[in-house]
Every structure is written in structure tokens, then in C-alpha cells.
């Protein structure tokens, strides 16, 4: 988020398109996970488009509430892990059986059982590191990235549902969903897309 411009809850809504670059958001701020989960489910069922939901900790059931799919990063782990196994076995074969075979205690140059421990370690190492690299890439996380919280306290004790104000956005409906789920604050924000 590069500095959303905050307006008061009673501010007039500027017509969409006044600033071509900025999107407008309708935000409900909650103080506990149960309210935010219930409100998110209600918003999805009412057909609102989520910009995002900001949470101080992982709230279980939020994916279902928002209607987003489970992360696909498991595939990265699987493929990178398989690559790790392959690299380890191929490397050990190259070194021990191809490039410089040595007779060590009469063992087979390609001593597969003896190569399993390192194959396992490299599977874990490459699988794990690739998954974390993919996490950073897909969430655009990098050291020193500058962000400002969309609402103060979303990394502490506040939960914020951020709806996109686009098309025929039914503000009264959204406001009533937020308020009926004990929203602490209802805000209108405009700013660049996070």
C-alpha cells in the first residue's frame, strides 16, 4: 500500500474515475477473528468483490470465507523436491561411478542405499528453499520493501475487510453487513492498488 488517503466515514464519495490511477475501497475494521470471519462470509455471499482482508494473524477458515482457493505452493515443493532427489542421485552417480570410481570396501560404485541419506537431505533442502522463495515471489516480499498498513493496527489487534468500490457498489448493504458484525469502524479509502 503506498499511502492510502483516508477520508472520514461521512465523507462524500467522489465519483469513480476522478483519479484514473486510484481505486476506491470500502473498509470495515473489526476487533476479533469471529466477527471478521462472519462478516467476510456475509460479504462474499452478498456478492461483494474483495480487494483483500488484513489480519494480524492467520485466521483459520478465511480462505473459505473469502472464497479463494487453497495455495498452489505445494506444487512448487513437490517439483523442487523431485529435482533435489534427481540432482543428488545423479551427482552421486557422476562422482562415485563415472568420474572417478574408487573401490571402497568392495562396495558397488553406484551404492544406491548409501546414496539415499544425501538424496533425502537435498530433497528437503531444495524443496524447502524453493517453497520459501516462491512464497516471497508470489507475495512480492523482499527485504526492505516499504509498506504502510492499510489501517493502523492490522498487524496488532485489528482486522480489516477491504471491499472494492467498483460498478454498482451497494454501500448501504456493505455498511449494514459491517455494522451488524460489530465493526469498530467503517471507512472509505482511496489509493493505489496494494
Amino acid at each position: 500500500m503506498s499511502g492510502p488517503e483516508r477520508t472520514t466515514r461521512n465523507a462524500k464519495i467522489r465519483p469513480f474515475g476522478e483519479s484514473m490511477m486510484s481505486k476506491k475501497f470500502f473498509v470495515g475494521v473489526f476487533t476479533n477473528e469471529h466477527d471478521v470471519l462472519d462478516a467476510t462470509t456475509a460479504c462474499r455471499e452478498a456478492g461483494f468483490a474483495f480487494h483483500d482482508v488484513f489480519l494480524p494473524y492467520a485466521v483459520h477458515g478465511m480462505e473459505d470465507a473469502m472464497g479463494i482457493k487453497r495455495s498452489w505452493l505445494t506444487w512448487v515443493t513437490f517439483l523442487a523436491g523431485a529435482a533435489g532427489t534427481t540432482i543428488a542421485l545423479a551427482g552421486q552417480w557422476y562422482v562415485s561411478a563415472y568420474d572417478w570410481p574408487l573401490n571402497i570396501g568392495g562396495k558397488d560404485p553406484f551404492a544406491l542405499p548409501a546414496f539415499i541419506p544425501i538424496a533425502f537431505e537435498l530433497t528437503v533442502l531444495i524443496g524447502g528453499l524453493s517453497t520459501v522463495a516462491a512464497l516471497f515471489a508470489v507475495c512480492k516480499l523482499f527485504p526492505g520493501k516499504d509498506v504502510k498498513p492499510i489501517v493502523d493496527g492490522v498487524t496488532d489487534d485489528k482486522f480489516a475487510i477491504v471491499l472494492e468500490r467498483a460498478g454498482n457498489f451497494d454501500e448501504a448493504r456493505a455498511r449494514s453487513i459491517f455494522q451488524s458484525h460489530n465493526a469498530e469502524q467503517v471507512l472509505e479509502l482511496s489509493g493505489e492498488k496494494a
Partner: protein, 471 residues
């Protein structure tokens, strides 16, 4: 709507009925205040010992490892004992952070961060010993297979010592990454509450732009689960491989198939003792008694008891098999182990590791903090002796009586061990000052445990609102 329901059946995981904001303040407040006098005292003691250890290491590398008490019969003793000891300590951290996560043990959230930090520092201490043992540590990178102009000369992939290189490197790397990924949301919290520009810059840099987005949380949660899933078999593999350094040799007392599970159990046992030692001090000094509660201590004592009993069972099994195998060398090694010149080390080991944890059968003792602290120290000592016994008593009298020998450590070796404790405690003390020792983000996620039941009305309420929506 949802109202908190207080469960009469379960104790809450965090005491004091705290709000989410209070959790942040309680944990981060410690980092934002000036360090206490106790911290400075501890830090100065630890760095002094570390300095002494560093001098010893410099001396023995400058002079050569002939400064040790080794001889032609006993070629491995103190250094490898320290290595196995420290690696073992690390295992409890991974058990708490990864295995308990997979088992959905929610109480782990208060202790996993510091236990993982302990793992990293223990692995750092462990890694130093093989490096020192090389005698020329600047050539340490020769253990890795890379194309070189010496032939190329490759390491021997059929040797467990090389498996160990890969196991320890992977373990250290994955533990560090797992720990850091777990830290990111908490670092973002510290960034957002930082008062000074400097603090904001440093924690902002480390927090990598985390903003609490649910779209990011969904990938984050899966990554965390995967890392836990990878770290779990990894931790078992690491100490299994360490045990194979011994078990694949032909030395009586080492050449046994029980070694991998026996070493893993011992590692978790010693690691839990060290977690108890550290956390009992941390919770007291940093006033985290509401987070690291007596119930946490109680549960850790139970785990310690289970693994202590497994270790005790392994001691018995080793003796049984030494007799049942009919191998006279194996049989003699074990009789010598208990009654020979180093028999006292065996009985120190048995008293510390088998007898001491038996107190934990009783709830009263599992909640008696001073007693637990003493017992945790006793177990730490016992587990160091376990490795010493396994290594030394198997080596000093093997097949040929003409080459039997004794071994006594030199002052240099003892001070190097002491120095590794200095390094360990220095790192831990710095950690509790600069990073949150409690994973408060995760703690917030379990706050409602036993304080409010699952919201049975939630779905009905949501449907009710949804049904009236205009599209």
C-alpha cells in the same frame, strides 16, 4: 452473534485473560525497554566465557590438535562428544516447532520461537567442533563436492561422515529459514509500532513488506505447513545419520542397529532439558509467566519423561543384546562400560538420565519450578556424559588388549567445551533482546482456546445476512 463462552473443562493456554493488543505490548515491550541488570550480568558472564573459549580455539588451531588428550587408541573423544551433544540439543527446538505443529499441539505457540532459536544456536555450536577437529579449519570447504584442481578429488559418498555434512548443513539452513518465515509477521508488528526511525528501518527491512494480507496469509500458512512437514523427517534423519557415524563402524559398542532411534530419543530428551533450562530463566527474567505458563512446563516435563524412559529402555536393550548376541567383544565392552576404569561416567549417565526424570511421573513435581530447573541441569549433564560414555568406553578397549589405553581431557579441551556454552548463551541473550522470544502472532491465534467455544451460530448468522443480500 458470537459471545465468548468460558469452558470449565480446559485451562486457557495463556493466563490473565489478555486482549490481542496486550499480547503485543507484553512481548514487544521487553524489546523496547533498556535491558535489565540481570541481562547485563548474564551477557557479561556469557561473553567472558566465550572469549576464553575463543582463546583456547585460537591456541589449539595455532599449535595443532596435539594439544588434546587423544592417543592412538582413543582418536575421538571430547570434541565429537561436544558435537553430538550440541546437535542433540537442537532437536527439541525442531520437535516443538515442527512436530508439535503437525500434531496440532496448540500449546507450542508460546515456546516455539525460543526453542527454534535454541536449535539454531546449538547447531552453530555443534558445527564448530568438526571444524576445529579438522586442524586446518580454513580448508573446511573441502568437505563439499565441487569441481577442483586436485584431481578432481571427490568426497566419499559412501561414508556416513559425508552424509553428516549434508545433514547438518540442511538442518541448519532449513531451521533458519523456518524460523525466519515464522518471524516475518511479528517483525511487521514491531515495525508498525516502532517509535524511532532507526527501529522502523531495521525491522522494516527484516519484515520484507509484510502487511497482513489474507491473500498472502494463505500462501504463508501453506509454506509454514510444508516447512514443518519437511523439518519433521529432517530432524529424525539428522540424528540417525549422526548415529551412523558410529553404527556403520566395526567397533564393539558402536556397531548396533539400535543407534538411530536411540540417538534420536536421546537428542529430544537432552533438547527438552535445555529448553526447560532456558525457558525457566527467560519466563522469570522477562516476566512471561502468563505466556510460558506452569501448564507449558508441565507438558514439557511429560515429554521429557517419555524420552527419558525411551533412553533408559535403550540402555537396557544395549546390555541385553550385548549378552544375547553372543559376541564376546560386544559383551566385554558393556561390562567394561559399567565396571571398567570409566565406570563412574556410566553411572553418572544412568543416574542423571534414568533416575532423575522419574520425578516427572508426579504432577506436584511437574509444577515445582525450582526442582524442574535443577533436574533439567542434571539431565543436561547426564546427556553430555551419555555421548562421552558411548564414544570413549567403546574406543579405549576394543579387540586388541595390547592397544588398550586410557584417555583424559586436557584443560584446553575442557575450556573449549565451556566456551561453546559461552557462545550458546551469548547468542541466546542477544536473541531475547532483539527479536520477540514469543511468537506472539501465533499466540493470538490460540487466545480463544478454552476461552470461547467454536461459534456454532456463525454459519447460521452468515447465511441469514447473506440470504437478505441484494445482488
Amino acid at each position: 452473534m458470537s459471545h465468548p463462552v468460558y469452558s470449565p473443562l480446559r485451562e486457557p493456554l495463556v493466563y490473565g485473560n489478555k486482549s490481542l493488543g496486550q499480547v503485543t505490548t507484553d512481548v514487544c515491550g521487553v524489546l523496547e525497554r533498556k535491558p535489565s541488570k540481570e541481562w547485563w550480568l548474564g551477557f557479561m558472564a556469557a561473553t567472558s566465557i566465550l572469549g576464553l573459549g575463543a582463546l583456547c580455539v585460537a591456541y589449539q588451531i595455532g599449535t595443532g590438535i596435539g594439544t588434546w588428550g587423544l592417543n592412538r587408541t582413543v582418536g575421538w573423544a571430547f570434541d565429537i562428544t561436544n558435537f553430538v551433544f550440541w546437535i542433540g540439543i537442537g532437536h527439541a527446538g525442531t520437535l516443538i516447532s515442527a512436530v508439535l505443529f503437525l500434531l496440532r499441539q496448540k500449546w507450542r505457540t508460546s515456546i516455539n520461537r525460543s526453542a527454534e532459536a535454541m536449535t539454531l544456536f546449538a547447531v552453530a555450536c555443534a558445527g564448530l567442533f568438526p571444524l576445529i577437529h579438522m586442524g586446518r579449519p580454513w580448508l573446511g570447504y573441502w568437505v563439499f563436492p565441487y569441481p577442483n584442481f586436485r584431481g578432481p578429488v571427490w568426497p566419499n559418498f559412501r561414508s556416513p561422515l559425508l552424509w553428516d555434512v549434508f545433514a547438518i548443513s540442511t538442518y541448519g539452513t532449513i531451521s533458519a529459514v523456518f524460523w525466519y518465515v515464522g518471524l516475518i509477521p511479528d517483525l511487521a508488528t514491531i515495525r508498525d509500532r516502532a517509535k524511532t526511525t532507526m527501529r522502523k528501518a531495521i525491522y522494516g527491512f527484516l519484515a520484507m513488506g509484510w502487511n497482513g494480507s489474507a491473500k498472502a496469509w494463505r500462501h504463508y500458512e501453506v509454506t509454514y505447513l510444508i516447512l514443518a512437514g519437511l523439518a519433521t523427517p529432517l530432524v529424525f534423519s539428522v540424528h540417525s545419520i549422526v548415529s551412523m557415524d558410529f553404527a556403520t563402524s566395526v567397533i564393539p559398542g558402536w556397531h548396533t542397529t539400535i543407534f538411530p532411534p536411540y540417538f534420536v530419543a536421546g537428542a529430544i530428551f537432552s533438547g527438552f532439558a535445555m529448553v526447560l533450562t532456558l525457558l525457566l530463566i527467560t519466563r522469570k527474567v522477562l516476566h512471561y509467566e502468563d505466556y510460558i505458563t506452569v501448564d507449558h512446563i508441565d507438558k514439557m516435563c511429560k515429554v521429557t519423561l517419555v524420552f527419558g524412559s525411551l533412553v533408559g529402555l535403550a540402555y537396557g536393550t544395549e546390555f541385553l543384546i550385548a549378552w544375547y548376541s553372543g559376541s564376546q567383544y560386544e559383551g566385554y565392552t558393556f561390562i567394561n562400560r559399567a565396571t571398567g576404569p570409566f565406570g563412574w561416567t556410566y553411572w553418572v549417565m544412568v543416574s542423571c538420565n534414568v533416575i532423575a526424570p522419574q520425578f516427572f511421573w508426579f504432577r506436584k513435581f511437574r509444577r515445582h519450578i525450582p526442582l524442574i530447573f535443577v533436574l533439567s541441569l542434571v539431565i543436561n549433564v547426564g546427556m553430555w556424559f551419555e555421548r562421552f560414555v558411548i564414544i570413549l568406553t567403546s574406543l579405549h578397549r576394543d579387540y586388541l588388549p595390547s592397544s588398550w589405553s586410557l584417555y583424559y581431557p586436557t584443560l584446553i579441551e575442557v575450556l573449549t567445551l565451556l566456551g561453546s556454552f559461552g557462545l550458546f548463551f551469548t547468542l541466546f541473550l542477544v536473541f531475547v533482546r532483539v527479536l520477540p522470544p514469543i511468537a506472539f502472532g501465533e499466540v493470538k491465534g490460540v487466545m480463544s482456546y478454552a476461552r470461547s467455544q467454536k461459534h456454532s451460530h456463525r454459519h447460521e448468522a452468515a447465511k441469514h445476512v447473506g440470504a437478505g443480500a441484494h445482488h
